[in-house]
Structures are given as C-alpha cells and as structure tokens.
Amino acid sequence: MIAGFSRCRRWLVAAILPLAAWSLDATAAHYQVETLVSGLRQPYSIAFLPGGDLLVTEKTGALRLVRDGQLLAEPVAEIDNLFSGGQGGLTDVVLHPDFADNGLVYLAFSAGTAKVNGTRVVRGRLVDDRLDGIEEIFRAEPDKDTGVHFGARLAFMADGTLLVTVGDGAQYREKAQDLSSMLGSVIRIGDDGGIPTDNPFVNRADAKAAVWSYGHRNPQGIVVDSNNGKVYVTEHGPRGGDELNLVEPGANYGWPLATYGIDYTGAVISPYSEYPGTVQPLTHWTPSLAPSGLALCRSCLWPEWEGDLFAGMLKGTQVQRVQLADNGEIAREALFEEVGERIRDVRFGPDGALYLVTDNSDGRVLKVTPAAP
C-alpha cells in the first residue's frame, strides 16, 4: 500500500511540476532589465526630477546627476562633515512635494567622526545643476560612537511632513525603547525641520517630540502609500528577524524586547518574539536577507502588482515582492535574482517602471520594464 501511495505521489509530482515551471517562467517573463547608468561609487538612492533627469546619491558623499542616460562628471553637491566609515555615508535623496515650485532637495546622511557621529538631514535648492543654500534641518540625538545602524531613509507624507528613519547604533539597542532618545525610531518633522504639533509624544516631557514611532533596529526602507497614506518600513534584523512593519504614530515595534532574530554571536537578544504593548511585523525574513530600500506599486507598469511592496535585499541579492491581502495574509516572491547583485534601493519612477540601485563600488541603476509581448 505504501508502495502504491508512493507511485501515486510520483505521478502527482510529475503532473504538477510542468505547471509550476510554467508559473515561474511566466513570472520571469514579466519584465526585462536594462542598465540605465553605471560607474557609480556605491550608489545608495535615486530621485526622479520632473524633466526626466535622475539624482543619485553615492555613499562616499556625492550627489550625482544623470541626464539622458549619461552620468554628469560634476557632482550636484558634496556633503561636508560626512562620516562614511562602516555603514555610514550619504544615503537617501527625496524631492519636496512642491519641488516644481520650490526646487528643494532633501538628503540624509551620517555625519561626524568615528567617535562622535549621527544621522543628519539637510536640504538645498537645485539651481543650474547645483544644490544651493544647503542647510541642516535635522540631527539625531544623542550622538553615538559606532559606525553602523544609521537608518537614514526619508519619505514625505501626504501632509508635507518628512519622515526620517534613525537606527539604534547597534551598541545602544535598548535606546530604541527610550523615548528621550531618537535612536531606533522613525522621526517626523516639518519640511523646515520644525516639530509638527500633532506628533504623538509632543506633550510628553520625557520624550523627544520628533519621535513618531519607536522600537526599531536599523530601518533602511520606507515608503508612503500614495493612495491611503499608510507608512511601511523595512528594517534589518540581527541574524534573522528582518521586518516589514506598517508604522503608525506612537506605536512601539518591539526592538529589542521582542525579535525573531538572534545575535551574530549565537546569543539570545530577547527570549521573546512577541511582547505585550509592542506591534508585530507584517512579515519577517528569517534567515535574514538584509532589506534596504522599499517601493510600492501604484499605477505602475504591471497591473497585477498593484498595491504590492518591493523590498531590495542586500545579502539576499534580490527584490522581495510582498503581496498584502485584505485578510492580513501575506505572500512573498523573490525577483531579479538573476541580476546577482546586492540591491540597495528600489523605486518606481514617474513612468511606472521599476528602478533598482545596486550596491557596488562600480554600482548601477537598473531600469525594469514589462517584457515585450
């Protein structure tokens, strides 16, 4: 009887396998990948200018301009007081929602020295391919003395306020639970760096008024859904426990009280993967794929991807497509593994195409479009 069952199972597998292969082939046939620009020094992020130009940040401190597919030799800006050791450097770039009128560009980076450093945000006005009047509008407090876990991603909300992710600095992980510290939190500030009066902890004397959510480890991906204003954040876990969170004001995302990961040393970080009063991630990647950069498809070139999230993966050398169902179920799919490079950032362009930034000393921006029929 067992032999009969085994034979049956073999027949079943033989019948299903071609269907599965067809399904995978169909997925791969959804897109084609082309190199838009190469020769970038550790590119980190991109922003699309109204005329079709592209701004690219390089971790080493330069903001570069790509015009007609060509990387201009002269940088748009170079960051003063940059700390580019370890995981530090120039990270994110976003445009003001009214960029067409005011020309404001926002940059996130790590500043200082190996002994005293932190996450900063500056803004400047783009005039004649140069960033003028650069001024600091945010400085994470307190400073730290580790060269890792800066967060340093930016996203504008629909109301014009700016979200800034700040990492826990690794050495100071318990600070992610301390509201008097900005380490391990998502910060919300005005476009000039001021504190919005409706921030969740604005009336608490023991808290930093700029804190919007806390209990994060090293959030390196953030996106705001243009349809409903929901904010999604990806963060690196330690060994295991990379998270995708739906971030809401005042909420505690648990690090380090609760985590699905363990320490690199094999030690326990917390005995708990869930803890009362903390919010569970929508999904977690265990083992870790190291998420960096996050995008959301709204009216993109693939109608079947509408509403899905796309998380770049460094260690995983892929993009994870995350489908969020109304009933809370989540499906995940690995894409672009054939590129074979660490993916630092993922963005949908105004043309609906998907753009990938590869994390290399000779880095590239890739453009993904639907495959020709």
Partner: protein, 162 residues
C-alpha cells in the same frame, strides 16, 4: 633508533595538565556565558521587559549552547579556549622566571586575556561590542571575573599535580 616511551609519571602529568586546562576553559566559558545572559536580561528589564525565573533559566541554557555552537563568526567557547591556552602558557613562563604564586599569576593572566580579547574584537567591529552582555565596565568585569575563575581553578589543579 626508536624514541624512548614517556615515563608513566610524565604521562600522568600531561593528562593532569590537559584536565586542568579543560576545566579552566569550561569554567571560564560557563561563567562568561551566564554573565553575558545576565547583563543582556538586565538591559532588557531596564528597557521594560519582565521575566519569570523559568524564562531566565531557559535563556541561560540557550546562551550556553548558542555561544558555543551557533556563533556566526566563531564559537565563544573556542575563543575562550584559544585565549586561555595563550594566557596560561605565558603565565607559566612568567611564573617560572619570577617565582610568582600560581594562585595570583594564572587568574590574573586569564582575566587580562578576556579583557584584551573583547577589546580587540570591539576595535575590529567598528567599535561595536559584539557580545552585548559585555558592554560597559560591569559587563567587561564580568567576563574578566570569568577568566579569573578559570585561572584560579587551573592554579588549584596545578598545585595538586605537583
């Protein structure tokens, strides 16, 4: 010409030395691992987490296993053993040259080794203390105390061997 086989007393001494070293390494590792767990849980408690005694005990056992066998870079047990092999060998030479007391020189050497090893690891990893329970003076002192315990046991064993 065949080598003369070692005398029974030399064999006994070698076995005793090996036993003393293994005991020292295991003791150092276990005290260090428990200290690491204690400081990590204390940090979590200060950040708002509560633990039952059962959770604490389970975490100690998970760390005893995890630090030895699940490290990404290297086993802490192996690090401690290699560090102790160097520190105790140097201490034995110093003892011979200076006639220092074993109960002082071995614990001291092992404690200094633990402190130096962890400081070196921190310097290599961008200023991060890789073993979270060794952050701060108290955490580091806990590891050095573990070394001292292992060194003291080694000294006791060596005295009995003589």
């Amino acid at each position: 010409m065949p080598h003369p086989s070692p005398s029974p007393s030399r064999m006994r001494q070698a076995r005793g030395l090996l036993f003393a070293f293994a005991l020292a390494a295991l003791t150092t590792y276990m005290v260090a691992a428990v200290s690491q767990t204690g400081f990590v849980l204390a940090g979590l408690h200060a950040a708002g987490a509560d633990f039952t005694p059962a959770v604490v005990v389970a975490t100690i056992f998970r760390d005893l296993y995890g630090l030895a066998f699940k490290g990404l870079f290297v086993s802490y047990l192996l690090l401690v053993a290699v560090g102790l092999a160097i520190a105790l060998s140097v201490a034995a030479l110093v003892k011979r040259w200076t006639a220092a007391r074993g109960m002082i020189i071995y614990p001291l050497a092992a404690a200094v080794m633990m402190g130096a090893m962890l400081s070196l690891i921190k310097a290599v990893f961008f200023g991060i203390t890789l073993y979270a329970g060794t952050r701060g003076a108290a955490g580091l002192a806990g590891q050095m105390l573990a070394g001292a315990c292992g060194g003291a046991l080694f000294a006791l064993c060596m005295e009995r061997l003589r």
